[in-house]
Symmetry: D2
Subunit: 141 residues, 4 copies
Amino acid sequence: MAGNGKKIVDAVIKLFVEGGGFDRVMEKMRIVSAGEGRCVAEMMVDKEHQNKGGTLHGGMTATLVDIVSTLALMTKDRGVPGVSVNMNITYLKSAKQGDEIVINANTLKTGKNLAFLEVEITNKATGNIIATGSHTKFVGS
Amino acid sequence: MAGNGKKIVDAVIKLFVEGGGFDRVMEKMRIVSAGEGRCVAEMMVDKEHQNKGGTLHGGMTATLVDIVSTLALMTKDRGVPGVSVNMNITYLKSAKQGDEIVINANTLKTGKNLAFLEVEITNKATGNIIATGSHTKFVGS
Amino acid sequence: MAGNGKKIVDAVIKLFVEGGGFDRVMEKMRIVSAGEGRCVAEMMVDKEHQNKGGTLHGGMTATLVDIVSTLALMTKDRGVPGVSVNMNITYLKSAKQGDEIVINANTLKTGKNLAFLEVEITNKATGNIIATGSHTKFVGS
Amino acid sequence: MAGNGKKIVDAVIKLFVEGGGFDRVMEKMRIVSAGEGRCVAEMMVDKEHQNKGGTLHGGMTATLVDIVSTLALMTKDRGVPGVSVNMNITYLKSAKQGDEIVINANTLKTGKNLAFLEVEITNKATGNIIATGSHTKFVGS
């Protein structure tokens, strides 16, 4: 199931990246596992993800929170991406070029109308938390 | 002063965009005015800013909140960009291709250690609020 | 209309406070005006609102954001209080015993399912911002 | 150490509650364990914690996030409570009178200037998440 989830999410992210929209910024991100409301991805911080200070850009961090939590949500039964209502990101530590980061997203709850997701981004080598995110999406009709 | 602020911010954003980092996603954004802790920018939503649903990507919205509020902060006396501590974005309405959006950032307070910024993104034609953002940065040493 | 809104909100808050629930902590708050999605209240910071450091308690600040924004929402056509989905509070400056504070809440948007509210708490004498809040509520069925 | 942490936190919360300030709303909360940046507390939802709808008040939830995370922070070496910078609460599920709730707070990081805390409030009987909170405090000088 988790393996199957990964296949589906790999296909989804390929579609996203090749679509030519903003999701192209995820191009270098790899899905590690996906399924049952969870999605884990990895990415090496490269120049294209950085701010002028040479660290992972806060907007890129927010985009990682947005996308990986949405992928996690899409592994749930209904398979819907939903629409963002609120996103909160806390920045604990910087990540610099060459750092391998892990993006770990989890669906806390999906209801008829709302889905609640959380994300933790860590440095793969040190285990230090880089950022945490909370993402609420509307999934009703 | 506001005119001078705009000149400086224009130069800053040119540096940012040409640096080849993540700030390149701001390429099509134009600064309308800047100075005294405020920065107003405009952008036409194009394909490169969208999600697969054809509307402004939540990660791009977050990036606009991050960057324009940082530019607003840089117009203050000390001219520092600071480091993000927390960013909260609320998504009220979608924006679609061709929509002209206005990003209005304001510095609520800068202290010795922390700066507090807020952003409102509106649809230029209708005045409807697309998103609001709150951004806290560390500016101490 | 605004005057009538105040009458209704005064009655609502009387009900709330006298109900014996947590809303009793609002006992000393006075409604200044209410109507058309807005609500302005005032309160003198007293010992019962403080933390051990002698300043307005962060939990009390959050409660003020919650309640006054809900009152603002209830002045809208449908008159519903809704259910909280997300609340974000940023603390800019402390308030101490005897400080008169102003709580200014505004409904940014109400839709079929969600309502978006914002709050600013200021020191009445100095005009300094004490806290800002963003509150999203579910108002669907 | 954890046992010792609990003793200290018990003493701190007794001081808080008896101080006559806003912390009195924590009167019925019990500390389960505390130490090494963590604090777990329990409380039965009673009438005094509710809104007019008969469920745990959003302001009380926010206050629980604020206080239990602060207690968690105080078990760290420096023992400082810090000053709130930002607090974000997401409300997933209601809690009604008689429900036993568990408040679980954890220090993600403490630095020279900032401390990052997270809280999860669950229903003890069902394990369902009632709310999650993120709390950033300034601990510098």
